[in-house]
Amino acid sequence: MDRFKLKGLLILAVLVLGILFAAPSFFGSKEVPEGWIGPKEKIKLGLDLQGGMHLVLRVVADKAVESRMNSTVSDLRAQMVKQRIHYSKAVSDSPETIQIALRVPDDYDKLSDLVRGSYPYLQEVNRSSKDGVMTVEYRMSASQVATIRSQAVEQALETVRNRIDQFGVSEPSIIPQGDDRIVLQLPGVTDPERAKALLKNTAILEFKLVDEEHSVQDALRGNVPSGSYIAYMKEGNQPILLQQRAVMTGDLLDDARMRIQSTYNEPYVEISFNREGGRIFERVTSENTGKRLAILLDGKVYSAPVIREAISGGKAIIEGRFTDEEASDLAIILRAGSLPAPVEVLEERTVGPSLGQDSIYQGFLSMIIGGLVVVVFMIVYYKFSGLIADLVLIANIVLILGALAVLGATLTLPGLGGIVLTIGMAIDANVLVYERIKEELRLGRTAKMAVDAGYKNALPAILDANITTLIAAIVLFQFGTGPVQGFAVTLSIGIIASLFTALVLCRWIQEWLVNYQKIERISI
């Protein structure tokens, strides 16, 4: 077989592949029929075309550093008491520093040993003495801060993933961006407020005993007993006095489900602890029978029932006058785990399904109208050669669609615009070649020579022109988000596809015409 035929076969193979990959997308939202032998992957539609929600979250990682520092401080206090280090003050003024005031300066050595041994990430930054009191300041090492921050972001990403999975969004995309951002693409989500509430709850579950020895009224007047604080009920906002120490936290949770109370038809959330959690819960309830145990989520008291008896079996319930939706979302959040730090919404874009439908329709309408104008123009201007260019253009569009499907790229509205533009631009390579062929023919060359010279002379200009557009497209991809990236992708694929169709496919057809069909006059 000669090279020319081999080339023809390769071209045919590319085209067949293009058709196979592009075909499923033409069924739209319908199923690909049984018996279809090719791939079944359809082109993914961007959120702007199918509707859905785009969210950018920022993990407030500083809060994770702060809470680690707070637990270090309380841990350190306990250790100092144990080791008889006499301190008058141990506080964290800023998220990264601790100040400890020693009443007995001689205790400094003991403190240094303790810190070096148990808290190696604390570095002494300042030490001063005044009136017999020595103040030592420690700072958390930069590497430790960085670790906590990155762990917080990582864990937040994991939790967000879990929650979305449990919520049941089909084909979500959840990716980290930069140091502390999470970008979510949630197709088909139509209730943005509910989705945001689901993601933003840090969901820190705590169980705390109610301080029943002191009165709330007294505390409200500013007389808060040490070890206790005032919290507020979620419903009705009444104040309630709680012990500061949590007897249990939600990290010992195994499962959470929404249940319906049969008598009042009211939904509640049932939580089950893991083995360790069950044991602790049983101990706590048996030691505190008759007292009230408050259940807190993110600092708000959901309920504070009286413990009637020791609870074994590791189950508890959370009530709070929920709607079905709220109870089911709360169960999801508890199952998925808490966020290590709060998140804030930086960007939120929601496209309703009706706009997406309209956009698809308008995009394709303009593609067809623009395409038709070009197709008719080419036939009028270049006659038979124009018809070839038109066929090649159709092949080009099929290849772009096929490539989008096979690469798993997302088609967005600007992306659709990119295909429309490609239609205009793809013709450019043909026009360049045809104008060259015309010039050669005018010089009296034969059809064969004119075709050869036409392609050869036009090549550098075509390559340069397309590579420059490709450079612009690549920059665009780097900078863009969502829809704009979709545009960069279709533009790039369009450039490559049109180079192939104009320089390889179209050339092959014309060489076949002049070499094998011995056509002597080119209709151009």
Binding site: V56, P192, E344, V345, E347, L355, G424, M425, A473, F487
Partner: protein, 299 residues
């Protein structure tokens, strides 16, 4: 069929002074417009909340305004978009972030109360926080800059530094005038518009490169002494029919996008349309005459 009769040679260089004057005037007007009127940045770049809402009954802009007035949003703007019969509006307020989420609910509630729940279709909501919008703005304009640098290097490599500088000047010319027209018409600069400007950069360069390629080829052929100015004229003339055909086919499809593509993509199509026209003009009347200018300076 030919739109330009073969062998035609137009004395483009003769018009270079007129072209430079025209372009200088357009650039001055554009820059003046940028200073005086500024740009109408979209929510992408200012931050804030943008709601696109469609009603299934006839609603006037004033009715929408009075419906959401009680919420007391400072600086909210309401704009009717699309055809009149679409009853579609764009509501924008500078409020953003977590308060934005509430704002959306408030506006949605107010509209549903006033016009009936079944008549209100919230089609699109964008809430962009200040951190993101600042980021996008910076990245958007930087990307234009980076694209310019990348292209400068590529053309330098493929041609000569003088060609490269001439092409980049023509590009800057196109972008400044397109942005100037956005300023004058008060059209919104959004993310897709920046994408369109980058596309304009790529496309307008196509035309320039194709002329430059012909110039290089003709210089090789001439191989001896030749009149640079008339060589430029013949190079542009030889490629003129291609320039006109490609620009007009591309213009047709973009026009289709502009007319039928819908509200979301309207400004995007407009930017490409303007950029294409200015780009075609500059590749003929600006880029090559700059080459001539460089040549004369050298001699």
């Amino acid at each position: 069929m030919d739109i330009i009769r073969p062998g035609t040679q137009i004395d483009f260089m003769k018009y270079r002074k007129a072209a430079f004057t025209l372009s200088a005037a357009l650039i001055i007007i554009s820059i003046a417009a940028l200073f005086v009127r500024g740009l109408n940045y979209g929510t992408d770049f200012t931050g804030g909340t943008e709601i696109q809402v469609a009603f299934s009954k006839v609603v006037k802009t004033d009715e929408v305004r009075s419906a959401i007035e009680p919420i007391g949003l400072a600086g909210a703007s309401i704009q009717s978009i699309g055809e009149n019969r679409d009853n579609e509006f764009l509501i924008r307020t500078p409020v953003e972030g977590d308060t934005g989420g509430e704002t959306v609910q408030q506006i949605e509630g107010a509209l549903k109360d006033t016009f009936g729940e079944e008549n209100v279709d919230i089609r699109r909501v964008d809430v962009v926080g200040a951190a993101v919008s600042k980021d996008l703005k910076q990245k958007g304009f930087l990307s234009l800059f980076y694209a310019g640098i990348g292209l400068l290097i590529y053309i330098w490599w493929r041609f000569k530094i003088s060609y490269s500088v001439a092409a980049i000047i023509a590009l800057a010319h196109d972008v400044i005038i397109t942005v100037g027209i956005f300023s004058l018409t008060g059209r919104e600069i959004s993310l897709p518009v920046i994408a369109a400007l980058l596309t304009v950069i790529g496309y307008s360069l196509n035309d320039t490169i194709i002329v430059f390629d012909r110039i290089r080829e003709n210089i090789k052929k001439a191989a001896g002494s030749f009149d640079y100015s008339s060589l430029l004229d013949s190079s542009i003339s030889q490629t003129l029919s291609r320039t006109l055909i490609t620009s007009s086919t591309t213009l047709f499809v973009v026009l289709a996008l502009f007319l039928f593509g819908g509200s979301v993509i309207n400004n995007f199509a407009f930017a490409i349309m303007v950029g294409l026209i200015v780009g075609t003009y500059s590749s003929i009347f600006i880029a090559s005459p700059i080459l001539l200018f460089f040549r004369q300076e050298k001699e």
